[in-house]
Amino acid sequence: MNLLRSRLVQAALILIVSYLIFQFAIRPPAPFSVLSLYMGIVLLAVLVYVSSDSDSWRAFLRPMHATLVDPGKRALRLALMIVIPLLLGYYAYTQAAAKPQAPPELRAVHPAPPDTIQFRGKDFKIAGGDNPLRKDAAAIPKHVAAGGEIYVRNCMYCHGDNLDGKGHFAHGFNPPPANFQDPGTIAMLQEAFLFWRIAKGGPGLPKEATPWNSVMPAWEDRLTEEQIWQVIMYLYDATGQQPRRWETAHGAH
């Protein structure tokens, strides 16, 4: 295949194939900023590859140069001269006519937890902390049942009957309530992290997590320490997720 030997075609193919891989083979999908970073790196690599020696570089440039000057490619040249300005003009139109969008709200979804918090006037260890109610395995079903009742009377309105973040009030709030069925939420967090989030709610978030806009109440005003641990146990039980453990280096001391 002569076409495949062409440096330009090769470069284009590499770009397309890597784009397809980044876009469709990575799960969960990478955000746009990461994608463009990867593609930038690939583009650089391709440029290094085609310019590795001067023959290759000339071969890469030849088809482009030919399009610009060859008398035989006049029709193509003309077509490009019409199509590209039109495309850019249309692009400019969509930009100029675009309705303003609300500015994006960048926020840290799972901000780093503090080492300790104040819970109803006493120091409470978060980093490395574990759920004390799990020690007595026989009592776990009782705690889960109690947690379920707390959930349905307090949390369900936003986080949903099915714990999927689709409660009564979910569609009215931004940021949306957490979806506990999503493996990206409680499954990658420690129980003590959840304790912090439940106890301190939106107002207890650090600035990078936009505390002014989270509608999550600070439940320390309403629930006891035991009740918070119980509702945490219910979340894991009802979704079938496992809490993340603290790294051993942390848990050792």
């Binding site: 784009y19 876009q23 469709f24 746009f32 900023s33 994608l35 463009s36 593609m39 140069h65 610009l68 000057v69 490009l80 001269m81 590209i84 300005p85 039109l86 495309l87 850019l88 003009g89 249309y90 692009y91 400019a92 139109y93 969509t94 930009q95 100029a96 006519a97 309705k99 303003p100 969008q101 609300a102 500015p103 994006p104 709200e105 960048l106 959930y151 349905v152 009377r153 369900m156 309105y157 949903g160 009957d161 099915n162 689709k166 009564h168 009030f169 569609h171 009215g172 709030f173 931004n174 939106g202 107002p203 600035k207 936009t210 505390p211 002014w212 806009n213 989270s214 509608v215 109440p217």
Partner: protein, 543 residues
């Protein structure tokens, strides 16, 4: 025959949409990226590419859709024993382990969860009191809009049929009588004449007694309505079709009119209408009362004008202004909480000129109440307060994303409330939901209209804010805004309110012609640049 050709036409329309759809979608995608720092051309390429890939995906799904049409719809015999396990995990929290509607969550819910031991079901497509299995399956699958029953389509179909079998066991004797299918009269399509006839029937069979003259659930009987269990029950707001318990399709609405909603004051009307097909005229009238679904805004736009802004909420000016529909939710952070808010949306329109800014708010409230009490029943024994609504802004509008706490600010950052209460607007500074301070000496004016269960209010103030506690509005900036509302007639006051978190509001300068000037310039410049490149390249070769 007609049916197949109609089917083919819709399929063709669908195909066409699939083929043509992705391209504009691609453009809007990169347009949405907007003024970000991402390289725009790259965005364009990616978007175009995605559109093409999307096209293939759509094509494939189209084929799959045709070959493996979903088999849902045909009733299956469920296994009640298997259903019990699912029930106890997913349903018992509200409906109770015994099926009596007394689960742990029931207390706070309104409407209450169904008591399965009664065997009474609201939504039936049957002519007698027994719902069909298909009816029960549909409710489990689609949920009941406007209530706490969510759609359980996340459960496998088999499990939903098992649930149907299980919940029937709570009142087995009620299912002894076989369901008898309700035959609806021949369908009448919508037309002006049909809607007119529907409106006549609406009055003739006294729908307005509960549902109100324009369907806004404000009829005079509303306060006395109770369900079979003695709980107060609100009539449906017919202008909000998306909250209809049994679905909002033509057939579903006609069925509700024909056989009623069991266990509620909504009776069967198939024998009360003059002719059976009046059921369809009524349906067409109801469908004409409101939109199919609310188009919720993500940004509140306030348009600039060079004219004076009218105070009258019914002025033609406001009918032309673009509506921004905002959903309101219950306040469940501070005691007393409000799990079942009455006001669920407000439509906001805005305008400004070089001197003042005005907001036009529209919301449904079934009873007008002022500080003195209910307008229609003075001295009513029920605990009531004045109806109220508020627009909330930061006391000081600063650049950046940081804002006061959305729930009326806190001790460190206060908010400014443009607050209307019982017919009069004023200004309030708040540093917490219970820490309110009325601001004196403002220049706020307002005008209120209350008609057929709906408030329309215009609130106006100068663009520039006097003093530290009033924000100044500037064109082309994003201003944080939030909303709160109280139905005083339902006892909502203080922290018992509906609210939103922060939105953005933008004062849009009067439409400029920039969008017609910039694109040709861009195209021309590109062409010139390309010509220069070609010329440079041919010179280079000539050398």
């Amino acid at each position: 025959m007609a049916r197949t050709s109609a089917g083919r036409a819709t399929r063709r329309a669908h195909l066409l949409r699939c083929l043509l759809g992705p391209l504009p979608a691609a453009y809007s995608e990169y347009a949405a990226v907007g003024p970000s720092s991402a390289p725009r051309i790259w965005t364009l390429l990616v978007a175009l590419f995605r559109a093409r890939v999307g096209l293939h995906a759509l094509g494939v799904s189209l084929i799959i859709g045709v070959v493996f049409a979903p088999s849902e719809g045909s009733a299956q015999a469920g296994d009640a024993n298997a259903g019990k396990a699912v029930y106890e995990r997913k349903c018992a929290m509200c409906h109770g382990v015994k099926g009596d509607g007394k689960g742990a969550g029931a207390e706070l819910l309104d409407p209450k969860p169904r008591d399965f031991t009664s065997g009474v079901y609201k939504i039936r497509t049957t002519a007698n009191k027994t719902p069909s299995d298909q009816d029960l399956f549909r409710i489990i699958t689609a949920g009941m809009p406007g209530t706490s029953m969510p759609p359980w389509d996340v459960l496998p179909e088999k499990e939903r049929w098992n649930l149907v079998a299980y919940i029937k066991t709570f009142a087995a004797d009620k299912f002894k009588e076989a369901p008898k299918k309700l035959e609806l009269p021949k369908e009448v399509s919508s037309s002006e004449a049909s809607i007119k006839r529907g409106k006549e029937m609406y009055e003739a069979i006294e729908c307005h007694k509960c549902h109100g003259n324009l369907g806004r659930a404000d009829g005079p009987s509303r306060p006395e309505l109770k369900d079979d269990w003695g709980h107060p029950i609100a009539p449906a707001n017919l202008t909000k079709r998306w909250t209809f318990r049994g679905g909002a399709s033509r057939t579903e609405i006609a069925t509700r009119i024909a056989n009623g909603v069991l266990g509620t004051p909504m009776p069967s009307f198939i024998d009360s209408v003059e002719k059976p097909e009046d059921v369809w005229h009524l349906t067409n009238y109801i469908l004409s009362l409101g939109p199919e679904s609310p188009a919720y805004a993500t940004l509140v736009t306030v348009n600039g004008t060079t004219d004076a802004i009218p105070d009258d909420p019914n002025a033609e000016f406001w009918k032309k202004a673009a509506p921004n529909t905002i959903p309101l939710m219950g306040q469940v952070i501070v005691d007393p909480r409000n799990f079942n808010p009455i006001i669920d949306l407000v439509i906001v329109r805005g305008a400004y000129n070089d001197k003042e800014i005005a907001f036009h708010l529209t919301w449904d409230d079934p009873s007008q109440t002022t500080a003195e009490g209910r307008a229609d029943a003075p001295g009513a024994a029920k605990k009531i307060a004045a109806d109220a609504i508020a627009l909330q802004f930061p006391s000081k509008i600063v650049p950046g994303t940081e804002r006061p706490y959305f729930l009326m600010g806190d001790a460190t950052d206060s908010v400014y409330l443009l607050r209307w209460e019982g017919g009069k607007a004023g200004e309030v500074s708040a540093s917490g939901p219970t820490k309110l301070k009325t601001l004196e000496g403002g220049e706020v004016v307002s005008k209120t209209v209350y008609e057929n269960g709906q408030y329309r209010v215009v609130i106006k103030r100068p663009l520039a804010g006097k003093g530290e506690e009033r924000p100044t509005f500037q064109p082309s900036t994003f201003v944080p805004v939030a909303f709160q509302a109280w139905d005083g007639g339902a006892g909502e006051t203080g922290t018992r309110m509906s609210l939103t978190s922060w939105y953005y509001l933008r004062l849009e300068p009067p439409q400029s012609n920039r969008r017609f000037v910039v694109p040709p310039v861009v195209a021309l410049l590109t062409l010139v640049a390309m010509l220069l490149v070609v010329r440079a390249a041919s010179r280079g070769r000539g050398r």
